[in-house]
């Protein structure tokens, strides 16, 4: 009789685990377990947990919008937006123009955001047109669109007639590689808004507010008539077409939205960092964002806001926490950096192997 009970319990456990894997997803579970392990190790090594958690929250907030940019693209059926550098460049261009015009502080950030949105609408429109012309190969095309635009912009950074002392080299022409934002009173401008401490953990209230506000807006957007049409078109193009939906138009709208989120994302990101990077800076930035949303449980054809929040938190949290841990465990070596590269790219690689054939036939 006892044996029977044991068997039953095991069945129950199995089905519970199977259920968890099915509803949460295996990658999410593994990364979450790994994240917990690293946190526990950090505690065991007597590292300062408040500082660690402050860092995690900050990185979570600053990366959130970039990951959120994946949602419209995935939902529309064009797959994760590997051309995120396109949006990022819109944000960077807006930064440089805003600084060149001599604005500072909140005025600067708002003006830059506005300009970034305008640039993103134009570029996103063209990019959407391009994607409609290459149906079936969106992800590859997107990756190289991002790469080549970054290369092209390197010329612009070098040759555009910017005069501002904040951004130029000490001598010669062109913009610096790294441009600091504290000189224009824009560094951590959102992070510091209403920020406070609990248990020694620094809560970047403004940063998180902005991120969650955009999450809410995107969530709301996908409950509108057009948003639902976009989702349906991505989920089953034939179905949508039979209901009279203009799928190509919707794909363009979704990718404009994604580009806008990328542009605003980099603005939020760089104000938190305190500087922004030109030239090859944006080159690889799509990959952590793609990995983030996939780790959160999204697939190449399905993504939700919850995937963004969970994925960003786990992925950025893991990256942030593993660094000091590795540093302490393998002191005096470069191992921490190697660990970081392996971890980050390993996660990306794993997430990318989960991308199955573009999500549509």
């Amino acid at each position: 009789m006892t044996e029977q009970n044991v068997v039953k319990e095991k069945d129950l456990k199995d089905s519970f685990l199977a259920k968890a894997i099915k509803t949460i997803g295996l990658p999410t579970l593994i990364i979450a377990a790994f994240f917990l392990l690293v946190i526990l190790t950090a505690a065991f090594l007597k590292q300062s947990l408040p500082i660690l958690f402050s860092d995690i929250l900050r990185r979570f907030g600053m990366n959130g919008l970039l990951v959120l940019a994946m949602v419209p693209a995935i939902k529309s059926g064009t797959g994760p937006n590997f051309a995120l550098p396109l949006g990022i460049i819109c944000g960077l261009l807006a930064w440089t123009i805003g600084i060149e015009m001599g604005f500072i502080g909140l005025k600067l950030v708002l003006l830059v955001s506005l300009m970034a949105i305008v640039f993103a609408i134009i570029l996103g429109y063209l990019y959407g047109k391009l994607l409609n012309a290459v149906k079936g190969a969106e992800m590859t095309i997107a990756t190289y669109t991002g790469f080549s635009t970054v290369a092209l912009m390197a010329l612009v950074w070098l040759m555009a007639p910017f005069k501002s002392k904040q951004m130029g080299w000490m001598m010669g022409e062109g913009l610096r590689e790294t441009i600091k934002l504290d000189g224009v009173e824009a560094a951590q401008i959102f992070n510091n808004f209403l920020s406070f401490k609990v248990f020694g953990i620094n809560i970047p209230t403004g940063l998180l507010l902005v991120f969650f506000a955009f999450c809410f807006l995107v969530w709301l957007f996908f409950r509108t008539k057009i948003g639902i049409a976009i989702t349906a078109g991505g989920s089953n193009p034939e179905f949508a077409a039979a209901s009279g939906i203009d799928i190509d138009k919707n794909r363009i709208i979704a990718n404009i939205l994604s580009t806008i989120l990328g542009a605003l994302g980099i603005i939020l990101y760089s104000q938190s960092y305190g500087f922004f990077q030109l030239y090859s800076g944006p080159l690889m930035m799509a990959f952590p964002a793609v990995a983030g949303v996939l780790i959160g449980g999204a697939t190449a054809s399905k993504a939700n806001i919850s995937h963004v929040i969970i994925g960003t938190f786990l992925f950025q949290g893991l990256l942030t926490a593993s660094m000091p841990v590795a540093n302490q465990l393998f002191e005096g070596t470069d191992l921490s950096e190697i660990m970081r590269v392996i971890l980050q790219n390993g996660i990306i690689l794993y997430a990318l192997t989960q991308v199955k054939g573009g999500g549509k036939e």
Partner: protein, 531 residues
Amino acid sequence: MSDNLLSIKNVTKDFNGNRVLKDINLDIKKGEIHALIGENGAGKSTLMNILFGMPVILSTGGYQGSIEIEDEEVKFSTPHEAMDHGIGMVHQEFMLIPGFTITENIKINREITNPNVISRIFGKQYEWLNMKRMNNDARRALDIMGMGIEEYTEVAGLPVGHMQFIEIAREIDKTGIKLLVFDEPTAVLTESETQNLLAAIEKLASQGIAIIFISHRLEEVMQISHRFTILRDGEHVITKNTKESNVYEIAELMVGRKVSIERLDSGKREISDDIVLSIKNLEVKMPGEEVKGFNLEVKKGEIIGIGGLAGQGKLGIANGIMGVYPARGEVIFEGIPLKLNNPKESIRAGLGFLSEDRKGVGLLLDESIELNTVFTAMQTKNEFLHNFGFFSIMNSHSIRNHTLKMIKDLDIRCTSSLQHTGNLSGGNQQKVCMARALTQNPKLLLVSEPTRGIDVGAKKLILDLLKKLNEEQGMTIVMTSSELAELRSISDRIVIVCNGKVEGILSPDASSADFGLMMSGTRADSQLGGA
């Protein structure tokens, strides 16, 4: 010792417990042209797949019974083995390489070669081609069929009829060919090409090759076959000498169902004489189901059935009207010409559509029953939305209420209204499709293959539902189906489509023979003097 070249004995085949062939017996003599007749799904293809040792048979558990060739039992596990035993097949779709000459196509993979220095070192793959002998062989094969065309002509650009002949030439060039299967060989040919082909087939038979001739065209069967076998629902109906039968009998045996057709007429229905939908010269480019000039007038409140064999275009009609596939022609709905190729217009005009491609066009499998139900109405009629000036957000409350009502009305079996439609059974998926169509408040419902892939019990429910809609709400219904019994059970009139056009309109009580003749495009009057 019998004079049978091929004997199929008690062959039975299941696909996952679903019996598709029951105890089939068939024997074919040398030099005989044996016609194999049956509706789509009667089991002809499965039988041929068994004969050819197609992998699909083996991978689904093989078959019971035995096949003998010249009194020797054989069991093929690959098509190659079948070919080695002298069985050849002429495919419906041409398997030819356009850029190659006729000879090269005939001889492909069976080339005649001469050794050379390199081949002596590296093997047979590197030998020269002996074009002269190959050309001679090709010539001989073409001559058998009376084809005057030069063997060194490229295949690209040849008329369809010629391609068919090259296909046959390839088969007869194979040494030791004993049995040739023709699967609907005349489907794509013109009349004169057909006559040439039939003559060629007779010539082949006179040389001692046995022929299995699969065709829906009963006239051709009558013209060339010596005997025929009819399959229906996987069962062997009859084998008979063609001379002792007639088209009428064949047609009846092909279509006839033992089960009587129930018609539940409550007599409450009103069919007015108003024409609600008038279709004139409709052409639809739907691959495999092309419509080539279809005309029909539908009266308000009636149920019209559209039947016909697969590939004849019946499915293209509704798809064309709804703008799913490019269409041309004139469709007048309630007196107003419909803008074609625009799904939104068709839906707004009051047409509802249940697609035959339920999982492709009909449903969002990864979304909830709620979204599936209201999507089209929301997008085309702006229902179920909260309006905020320049944007509008879905009204979850009204969507939930409406869906729950639909679930109750249509008896959709689900765990909740949020369940994804991909997890529902076929019958319940069809009900969700119907819920979506009804949510649009259509005045006319186009229903395509409503019971395809649905189990027997659910089939009846769906048909009852359609009938109820028609009786209680006066909904006009145009139902397209491959299942004649289904059409006959609820339609008022049945239109039979053949070759993309209306072949004729029959009453549901017309005899099975009439349906069979019409579906196979055979003019009954020419054979029987006005049936």
